[in-house]
């Protein structure tokens, strides 16, 4: 029996292309024509080490603060029922897909020098200069993005708490503190290493935030330096060296993720607990309320602030302007093919992985490792920041005479590949489950290929809908590769927004932000409801 069946060959080819392009773009970084001296010169420059140490330091601080806030907030959200709780949780799930630039704009509008907070404080006679541009601004934005992400993952970990343990805690009369200490904390603790690594990696390779709020070379990171080396200095050896440095650090972090993160298994005994019998007290109520209020005060204003221009004439003017609709068209022209490409790659991964799961079920030998490896190889993308991948592709295409002109295709490819880990995370568990449950039935009834897909569609469409929504929105809001390849002819909404923020046209920027969010919501609704069906999850 051959290892691969001919039925999965097309999917295997897609995976092979995906891996080959990845390896080729990384290889291109190493093969840049440069003499040893220039590498050493670049490496020995104190500037590089300052960049590296600042990148690490801001990522570390951002991660610690995000998780530090997320832990008590998760506990509060697990215990307290209040009006708007579900809305808040949905807002948290959206944090992953809200275009970075939109949130940055919201932060600037609230915390900027002439922002609402400063104006309010001046109004009550308090003179405070909020140092938004620099480390403080970067931390503020990173916590704004990553704290909700941490809360979401922590809440997911806590759903693994067996119902009987919670019942036990009610029977033993645990107080609010004891439920946290003896039940929630051990479960949260298990997922902390992976959350730490994930957020650290996201912050370490953060681009748009540092570019917008860094405020200058003092607060710059490797990712921004790569962009500057390519876009402004056109120093290819320097860009490739910085990219290699970036990949090296990310790989090291990723190694720790997979080496030291314990697997968190789903408990099958889960049942929903309808009544929370935890002993309550005034002190715990006050503490919980304070935590919640702080979180709301931090998270909500930037979102609310960007919607205020929606009621002005400027909004209509901006909406009717030609550049706006050109940017909308470019954004959609990038996002839809990117989503399609991402789904093709993801389904190819799923097809091959399912084939090996099926093989494990019927044969003595376990092929699960191969299915897991395939799943992880999709995740490996997280080690290679989008800008680095784009740089590699640029270096590949440059000798062929195809560089910035070929930008559109590079953007579509990189966006598709960068959203892959998120899409795989949504799609694979559902598809794996189908294979495990119905493998024998499929084999006995000879249900394969398209017939199998049609049969499964009602069961998997919710996941496909959610995966599509992630893919299209992440691509639509991307402000990574487009910054490198973008031009006046290739100006997407996020890039247009970046230019407006950069020229302090905040009100007009807010209009674009509202438009961008509107398009995101429409596409999100379309994907989850039309592709996902009525059982769509959010």
């Amino acid at each position: 029996m051959s290892i691969l069946s001919w039925r999965v060959v097309p999917a295997a080819i897609v995976i092979a292309v995906f891996i080959a392009v990845g390896i080729a773009s990384l290889g291109a970084l190493f093969l840049v024509q440069t003499d040893e001296g220039s590498w050493l010169t670049v490496l020995s420059a104190p500037y590089i080490w300052r960049l590296l140490s600042f990148s690490l330091w801001q990522a570390f601080l951002s991660t610690v603060i995000s998780i530090g806030f997320a832990i008590p907030l998760t506990s509060v959200l697990l215990h307290r029922q209040f009006i708007g709780r579900d809305l808040l949780l949905q807002l948290f799930s959206l944090s992953l897909v809200v275009p970075t630039l939109v949130a940055i704009l919201g932060i600037v509008v609230i915390y900027g020098r002439y922002g609402l907070l400063s104006t309010f404080l001046q109004g009550i006679g308090v003179e405070v200069d909020i140092p938004l541009y620099g480390l403080f601004g970067i931390l503020l934005a990173h916590v704004f993005f990553n704290m909700p992400l941490a809360v979401r993952i922590l809440m997911q970990s806590c759903t693994l708490i067996p119902a009987s343990q919670l019942r036990l805690s009610y029977q033993l009369g645990f107080s609010r503190w004891h439920v946290f200490r003896w039940i929630e904390w051990p479960y949260m603790k298990k997922s902390l290493p992976s959350i730490f690594m994930l957020i650290f990696m996201l912050c370490f390779s953060s681009f748009a935030v540092v570019l917008s709020l860094g405020g200058g070379p003092k607060s710059s990171t490797l990712e921004v330096a790569i962009y500057q080396a390519l876009r402004y200095e056109f120093d290819i050896p320097k860009a490739s060296l910085l990219s290699i440095l970036q990949v090296a650090v990310c790989s090291l972090v990723a190694f720790f993720v997979y080496r030291f993160t314990p697997m968190v298994w789903q408990d099958l005994s889960l049942t929903t607990n309808q009544i929370d019998h935890t002993k309550d007290s005034s002190v715990s109520k006050i503490i919980d309320m304070s935590i919640l209020t702080l979180a709301l005060l931090f998270l909500l204003p930037p979102f609310v602030a960007i919607f205020t221009p929606a009621f002005s004439m400027l909004f209509i003017e901006t909406l009717l302007a030609k550049p706006t609709w050109l940017a909308v068209w470019i954004s959609i022209k990038i996002a839809l093919p990117s989503m399609l490409l991402c789904l093709i790659i993801a389904f190819s991964f799923a097809t091959v992985a399912r084939f090996f799961i099926g093989k494990s079920i019927v044969s003595q030998r376990s092929w699960y490792w191969l299915a897991n490896t395939l799943e992880h190889s999709g995740n490996i993308i997280l080690m290679i920041p989008s800008l680095v991948m784009a740089t590699g592709l640029f270096l590949l295409l440059y000798p062929l005479g195809l560089s910035f002109e070929f930008g559109y295709y590079v953007i579509v490819w990189v966006n598709a590949v960068m959203t892959l880990p998120f899409v795989l995370r949504v799609l694979l568990p559902t598809l794996y489950q189908q294979e495990r449950r119905y493998h024998f039935l499929y084999t006995a009834l000879k249900i394969r290929g398209w017939k199998k897909f049609k049969l499964e569609w009602p069961l998997i469409r919710a996941s496909v809908g959610q995966a599509s929504a992630y893919a299209v929105i992440l691509s639509l809001g991307d402000m990574g590769v487009i910054a490198l390849f973008g031009s006046q002819e290739l100006l997407s909404l996020p890039l247009y927004l970046f230019q407006l923020i950069g020229s302090y046209r905040l009100e007009q920027g807010a209009c674009i932000a509202v438009l961008l969010i509107g398009i995101c919501l429409i596409l999100f609704y379309f994907c989850t409801h039309f592709i996902g069906g009525k059982n769509a999850r959010y």
Partner: protein, 244 residues
Amino acid sequence: MLDIDLHYSWQQKGGVHTNVFRSHYKAHIGEGLTSILGKSGEGKSTLLTLLGGFVQGRGSIQYYGRELIKLAPDERPVTNLFQQDNLFPQLTVWQNIAIGLSNSLRLTDAQMQTVNWALERTKLTAYANSKPDELSGGQAQRVAIARAISRAAVGDSSSKKSILLLDEPFSALDPKLRMDMMLLVKELTQQLSLTTLLVSHFPDEVKTIGGQFLLIEGGSVVLQDSVELLSAENIPVALHTYLK
């Protein structure tokens, strides 16, 4: 004496239809061991969940004249043993028992002695410092029993947790070990004067351990008698239907 007169209804989702399952449990349960028999889905575990206070039923649960229905789970004189996850994996065996007496694990001398006594009674003294994942299935369930008896042993008559509810906690064990555990429960029930309710799917094992039994069908107690009836030649129709 445990007097139950409880109503509870819930929605059962099956395909496109949603049925409302209505239960009404009425029984007078004496001290000692009472096994709960019945087919799957008839409402055996629901009865224990109601008695534990994890879901709120209507009616009355009286234990020696004391009304329990309005009490929170921790205020009831009850200890539940579930099918699984009865232990906190991050705590040692000793701590898992102690947490039943003090949530902060700050124990008085008397409470410490009770924990040690419970360890001895369940033959777990050698495992006091082990973590649950180092134990076998039977040992892990013995720890849960040790916690239950330590709760039943301390305090005055109103604070003692002398109702023990076992929802198939030994179902994952092999038949020999399961029997050993049931005999241990029987012995402790007699020695500590507990009121123990044990859900079982094995009428033969129930015959061996003796005591009373309740037969549950469609959310109601349709029969209550001594387990000797299970071996009798002429048995009621409901029991016959269940046993065939």
